[in-house]
């Protein structure tokens, strides 16, 4: 469980961006009852009780790293832009925006007469203060938000509805960064941004939070409950519901039971194993292609230990790819709720995914032929030998995927690899320990690994993982090449979408050829809710996510 949009722990990335990231809404399939309200009058009121398995760890954006904390910020704070159901950027606090011809200056025109929930004016000055503060303390207290202001040199508000962001060079993903940055009320936060700014991290931002989004956070019990009330001062479309009650569950079984017994109205995420049960209980289950992918990692450090240097052999990597039965993995480990994996930029992210990158067909004969061609002869014990040692490898797996999907997938891969003379042994570690084993000895020691990723909608982060600069932070392959890094820099500075897309495609093809990752599958995004609610419109496959305010602005009681 690695990244995604928000950041920190792999754990976070797993849950958080799982929700954040996501799925093509256009392809979304809804089973169960219909949900459209049509032209009939919308019934106002009601509190939507939502179950989640991701606790909100902090209400301070400079500390939080759990996914639901970032969804909370989406609904509580203004963002300049948001995604719509077609995954296009649409206005949020910014009504319009423009980019200078050199790509170094972005101007946003914000909502006039907007107010915070305490009645104080919400203006472009709040946005300028937020970005300026992140820039000022980006090497310290605001480091977890530094990515939002990469290459930004200043943020100013020449008047109450104009925000000007200046960059030292063109940046290709400005709107994506703006979509993720919560704008904070300066009149609340300014006193913590003095001196060395350390107070920015010790401020708990307690409930009730002065909010600018469609909902005001009024109650927060850590690891338990968070309540949101409709914000009467919100500058955008007023929600139809009175509020949202978000309840944390330690286990998904308890969540599903609570939904079925009427203690909840919806589940943020439904595991594949619970889909049939929930459908049988007549709840609405929404399912669509997701951005989360599971991967098989091959140590790609060119200086890795001699005891497994054959892992760098391109024929071996091709053979491994042919030896993975992706259909069996999807049918067994995901119970059919997924599609075969190919590129590290999933098709559900839209036009950034290169359609030319295809997954290898399952072909053990071809895999054996490739290994024979590489000169790795079969030993008497049915294990091949490479450079004088048996092809026997340890696969590091993070415990967060092991209990469900991971173990089932490994069993399939292990059995097929045995048929090509490669022995795999599983070693499960918790996320922190697993990553440290991969990092150990500068990526020289580990052999193989299995994990998953939750990419963002914009490809920049996912592509950055394989750069040399990401070593010891996100890079879990040991891969590092100058030509790749140059392309990464080029795409991140591209001012034309077409040019950037070309660079992004080229990078995906480089990865597909080098095969540091063998993408196993894209798991579907699945959520559920009671039929007493209508028009809960998912964005990128999920309703409760950090991409948009639209889903809970539009939801309302069905009758």
């Amino acid at each position: 469980m690695r990244l995604g949009s928000n950041f920190n722990t792999k754990g976070f990335l797993r849950r958080a961006s799982g929700v954040v990231a996501a799925v093509a809404a256009a392809a979304l399939a809804v089973t169960g009852c219909g949900s459209s309200s049509g032209t009939s009058a919308i019934k106002e009121g009601g509190v939507f009780r939502l179950g989640t398995a991701s606790p909100i760890d902090s209400l301070n954006p400079f500390i939080a790293f759990q996914g639901d904390a970032y969804v909370t910020f989406e609904y509580v704070y203004p963002m300049l832009v948001q995604y719509n159901t077609k995954l296009q950027f649409v206005p949020d606090f910014a009504r319009s925006w423009s980019e200078s011809p050199d790509g170094k200056t972005w101007t946003f025109h914000t909502q006039p007469s907007a107010k915070w929930s305490d009645g104080k004016p919400l203006t472009a000055a709040d946005a300028a203060w937020t970005f300026s503060t992140i820039i000022k303390f980006q090497k310290g207290p605001t480091a977890n938000s530094a990515g939002y202001v990469a290459h930004m040199t200043s943020a100013t508000a020449p008047n109450s509805t104009t925000l000007v962001l200046s960059y030292s060079r063109p940046v290709g993903n400005v709107l994506s960064q703006m979509q993720q940055t919560p704008i904070l009320p300066e009149h609340i936060w300014a006193k913590y941004a003095t001196g060395n700014g350390k107070a920015l991290k010790t401020f708990t931002n307690p409930a009730p939070i002065v909010s600018g989004g469609p909902f005001e956070l009024v109650k927060y019990v850590p690891k338990s409950v968070t309540d949101f009330k409709r914000n009467p001062y919100f500058y955008g479309p007023k929600p139809h519901i009175d509020g949202i009650s978000l309840q944390y569950f330690g286990t998904t079984d308890a969540e599903v039971t609570a939904l079925k017994s009427g203690q909840l109205d919806g589940l943020e995420v439904v595991p594949p194993t619970s889909v049939a049960t929930i459908k049988a209980a007549h709840f609405m289950v929404s399912e669509g292609p997701g951005v989360q992918f599971d991967d098989f990692i091959i140590n790609s450090n060119p200086k890795q230990d001699a005891s497994h240097r054959e892992l760098l052999n391109p024929l071996l990597r091709q053979a491994f790819d042919y030896a993975i039965d992706r259909k069996a993995i999807i049918n067994t480990a995901l119970l059919g709720h997924g599609t075969p994996g190919s590129s590290i930029i999933p098709p559900a992210t839209g036009h950034w995914s290169d359609p030319a990158v295809k997954s290898a067909p399952f072909d053990l004969a071809k895999a054996n032929q490739l290994l024979d061609q590489a000169g790795f002869k079969m030993g008497s014990n049915n294990i091949r030998n490479a450079y004088g040692h048996p092809m026997s490898y340890t696969v590091i797996m993070s415990s967060d995927i092991a209990s469900g999907y991971g173990n089932r997938t490994f069993q399939i891969v292990q059995a097929d690899f045995a048929k090509i003379g490669v022995k795999l042994t599983l070693k499960v570690l918790d996320p922190s320990a697993a990553y440290n084993v991969i990092l150990a000895n500068n990526y020289k020691s580990y052999e193989l690994s299995m994990w998953d990723w939750y990419p963002l909608m914009d490809p920049d982060f996912m592509l950055s993982v394989l750069t040399c600069g990401s070593w010891t932070v996100w890079n879990d392959t040991g891969d590092c090449s100058k030509s790749y890094d140059q392309l990464y820099a080029a795409q991140s500075a591209a001012t034309s979408t077409a040019q950037r897309q070309q660079d992004v495609y080229q990078m995906q093809e480089m990865i597909a050829n080098a095969k540091p990752y063998l993408v196993l599958d894209y798991a579907n995004s699945i959520e559920a809710h009671s039929s007493k609610w209508a028009d809960l419109t998912p964005v990128a496959g999920f309703s409760w996510n950090a991409l948009s305010k639209i889903p809970f602005e539009s939801v309302h009681l069905a009758h």
Binding site: G140, T202, V473
Partner: protein, 324 residues
Amino acid sequence: MHRADYVIKRGFFALVTIFVAITINFFLFRVLPGDAVTNLARVPQSTPQLRHALIVQFGLDRPKWEQYFIYLKQLLHGNMGVSFAVQQPVSHLLLTDLRNTIPMVTVGTLAAVFVGVFTGVLSAWRRGSPPDHISTNLAIFFYAFPTQWLGMMLLILFAGVGLPVAGMVNPNAGVFYPEPFWQHLGDIGQHMILPAATLMLTAYGSYTLVVRSSLLETLGEDYVLTARAKGLPVRRIVWRHAVRNALLPMVTLIALDLGYIVGGAVLIEVIFSWPGIGESMFTAITQRDYPMLQGGFLILTVSVIVLNFLSDLLYFRLDPRISQ
């Protein structure tokens, strides 16, 4: 042995044990694979420099022995440090957790004691009868059940009849509708039923078996025979003479269990999403949040040692043979 000598000796051993536990708690978590900044450094566009900055911020760049002495010094000043993950004082976080954990685990443990003593006495009193067989087998049955399985079964069975399956209170109480104080207490009580019942069912069996065994031994004593010979009613012999003496081993068992109360019941808290210290410790381990781990395990250690010390003192008072 003189009472003062006994107290001093036991007190000294308790202090030494606490010091050793503090030292082990400090080093134990640091030898685990993984480290405290692996997760926290993972932000987009993160760099090795940020990772290093966090290491410096947390003081992890200093030698282990120096970190240890800083920790001891802070502890002597009553400072348990600041959580790496949420940047809040550990003492404040643990206090909040304890306020949630103690009522639930206390109710469950006391219920287990009462049920265990009652069924243990019943079994010994009716030894060999159907009630004895049923009681003993049920005790072994529940004692042998994995906590998580039993918890899930209760959750699934009773969710349908309206018992809350998660948290401590109704999520929207006090926000979307008013909730007076007594109603709030009732709400907490209702949420406590399933986790406390799970704890009670998994714990009472050991009390039953200990009480039964101890009481059977006591019922064979000469003074019980004498009481019978004097024609005292059986009920009075059992409850007023035999049970009082048979409960001595229960003092140690209960003291030990009460000590673990502050450790919470990790599995039960996870199953029922009870926001207590057990779940916090679980999260702190996965995050390698050393200050939280040290604080939590320190409280657990001290409470077990102090309650054992108190049970020793109680034993001294209850059993005159110790002082002879």
